[in-house]
Amino acid sequence: MNASVTAAPIPIPWWRVVAVGRNPRVTAIRLLALILLTFLAFQYALVPIRVTGISMSPGFKDGERKWISPLMAKLQGIRRGDVVAIQTSGRQVMYLKRVIGLPGERVEIKKGDVYIDGELLPEPYLFNRSAAWNWPKDGQPRLLGPNDYFVVGDNRAMPPQNHYFGVADRSRILGKVIR
């Protein structure tokens, strides 16, 4: 009769399974992959933001949370009507504005109405507008440069002197808001 002896597997303590898994090497690789994916996702695909202020109301309310996608802005490009995040000295504080004018266009605001290359721009997203809005101050339409985007907030019932708007360079636009 042949007798064979096999060593009983040494049980892995439960705390080690909880801490580093059954195979620590695989766990380490998974962990690194997860960190890398999370970093890439929050850097390029989805950036969480919290809206502060009323310049984009009523569409965007004070305290509301939204997502910005730099990737979508790269893939689709920036189009008229997109709501974009404009970087300041970094990403912690950004302006949220709507793109009204695109590179190469002539833009002006007369008594609250926006004209692009001389034609009135329909703006269905506006609820109210004040006739006090006029831009540029010299009364002449502004020709946007090859990297320039004219951006304004949606709350045009606000007095224009209390509302920050103007021309943003493409390098300042981080991404667009995902609906």
Binding site: V20, N23, R25, G53, T88, Q92, V93, D148, G166
Partner: protein, 174 residues
């Protein structure tokens, strides 16, 4: 335990320790950039005040804030709905801060994303940052929130980093 497990854990531990060390490097060995950052954070704290601040505390706080500027300081900031505010020297600055204390119940100033550049001798610093100010007025409709980009120039003065000039950076062109 399988062969190779111990080296894997060691490698992960070393990586984690290296990351923790890198993240906390400014705490263990603060450089000049970190001192500039600390000076600006102190300034933001000294300019901010709460609703229950008494007059003596306000005078002490404002004196501390003014002391963070050089005697020849100049400030030129553009604020929405207010216009351009120009301040030259510590006396004007003190008066401005006193006026802010009279007008507002609460002001919270915070600095974000400072980009610090030092000169070769680490005697001057140029800082590009974003400031947010949240104010609660003493009267109705005086509350407000502003986010503005600034350029700060600081210089080492009697061993301390003091603000020499402040200018607004326009995020959007007109």
């Amino acid at each position: 335990m399988k062969r190779g497990t111990v080296p894997s854990i060691t490698v992960v531990l070393v990586l984690v320790l290296a990351l923790v060390g890198w993240w906390t490097r400014d705490y263990w060995a603060p450089g000049e950039a970190q001192r500039v950052r600390a000076a600006l954070e102190g300034l933001a704290e000294d300019v901010s005040f709460g609703p229950n601040e008494g007059n003596i505390a306000a005078v002490r706080r404002i004196s501390a804030a003014v002391d963070r500027f050089t005697p020849d300081c100049s400030i030129e900031v553009e604020i929405l709905g207010v216009g351009t505010i120009q301040i030259n020297g510590r006396d004007e600055l003190q008066q401005g801060l006193m006026a802010a204390h009279r007008e507002a119940r609460r002001i919270t100033l915070r600095f974000f994303d400072p980009v610090i550049e030092l000169d070769a001798e680490a005697q001057k610093a140029h800082v590009h940052l974003t400031a947010t100010a949240e104010a609660e007025g003493r009267r109705r409709n005086q509350d407000g929130f502003e986010a503005i980009e600034f350029e700060f120039n600081l210089r080492r003065d009697e061993g301390r980093w003091r603000v020499q000039s402040v200018r607004t950076v326009p995020t959007l062109r007109q």
